[in-house]
Symmetry: C2
Subunit: 189 residues, 2 copies
DNA sequence: CTTTTTACGCTACCGTAGTATCGTAAATGA
DNA sequence: TCATTTACGATACTACGGTAGCGTAAAAAG
């Protein structure tokens, strides 16, 4: 059962990811050069490619590592929950350089493995939003007969559309408007 | 007023675009090699770069050229119009290789000039959808108080979101569901 | 100790996008 | 005719992502 050959150097992965993080932080996806990352980490390029199949996979691993899980507890008010979730996603998108997201999306479309990783990255939040929408619908707050999955697409999709296609900014205001459009106008208390 | 130096060879642009179209048609964005396009068109690479600043700009010019304007006449029924428009956009997106769209989006995020071109490409349809939504809202068919621009984002954004992020297919059914979600359930006649 | 297996570094290599330089061709203006 | 200006082709170059091959180091199995 034990490993047969020479064991992998345990420090390499961390050093490479640290070097990659330092590079990508100041210049985005394009500025991250595999040669430079390898040199900075004191590692041969071939060794780097033994761990990650492509630059895109390295970046995905990097993002996955940097990601802090935003804990989400339902507050009882679906409207507040949805607003918080959508706003958080929007904030996360604006905090990340657009070119990085775009290049990641492009890599996901090109390489199936990267696509899976990217989708796994977002599935957690996607599920959270879906759950809140489904609850709101069952509670009668959402009047639409449309399935929660579609409503989620209409909450989150516009964020990506604005970011990647129209280039318009993602203000907190906009996130709230999206929620209002799905839930209906806020009722006065 | 007349041009001063040696005039540009009028046939080059067409030959290059034809060669590029032939290459991109069988392999997408990545398969399009500038060197091969230049060789195929019988043109020096430097001449090619004198006309298009980057591979992305060449591809944008290519798409712009290939694009046929889909004429749209309002039918009087906003629901039918919206369904037709959204379905047409979805069909157009699925007909184009996803990697091509993704790479174009990535190039748009990287190079401002490409971004303008890409946005100009879609602005026409975007305006058409906006006009229909605004009319429907004024006619009282759409009950939402949300601005037409946001509703348009919620109609079109999910298409891109599915295509580029979640990877789910864009069925005609889905387009109709999006319209129903915005307009409310269809009323029986 | 010897064989086998895996990891590593190194060098060389391929195809790519894009740039720089240079000689030359084709036009205009004096 | 001659200088100027622009376009073109050709060559060489840089930096990049990614691959192949080789010698060697470190472990386990015999």
């Amino acid at each position: 059962m034990a490993e047969r050959g020479r064991p992998r150097d345990a420090g390499i992965e961390g050093r490479v990811l640290a070097a990659a993080a330092a590079e990508i932080r100041q210049g985005g996806y394009d500025a991250l050069s595999i040669d430079r990352v390898a040199e900075r980490a004191g590692v041969a390029k071939t060794t780097l490619y033994r761990r990650w199949a492509s630059k895109a996979e390295l970046v995905v691993a990097l993002i996955t590592n940097l990601r802090e899980d935003v804990p989400f507890e339902p507050s009882g008010s679906p409207r507040d929950d949805l607003t918080a979730l959508v706003t958080a996603i929007a904030a996360n998108l604006t905090a990340t350089p657009t070119t990085l997201i775009a290049d990641l999306v492009a890599a996901a479309a090109r390489e199936p493995r990267v696509g899976e990783s990217v989708r796994a990255l977002w599935s957690e939040r996607h599920r959270a939003v879906t759950a809140v929408v489904a609850n709101a619908q069952q509670a009668g707050i959402v009047l639409s007969h449309v399935s929660p999955a579609v409503l989620v697409d209409q909450l989150v999709g516009p964020l990506y559309y604005r970011l990647l296609v129209t280039g318009e900014p993602l203000t907190p205001d906009y996130a709230q408007t999206l929620v209002c459009s799905v839930l209906g106008p806020e009722e006065p208390r």
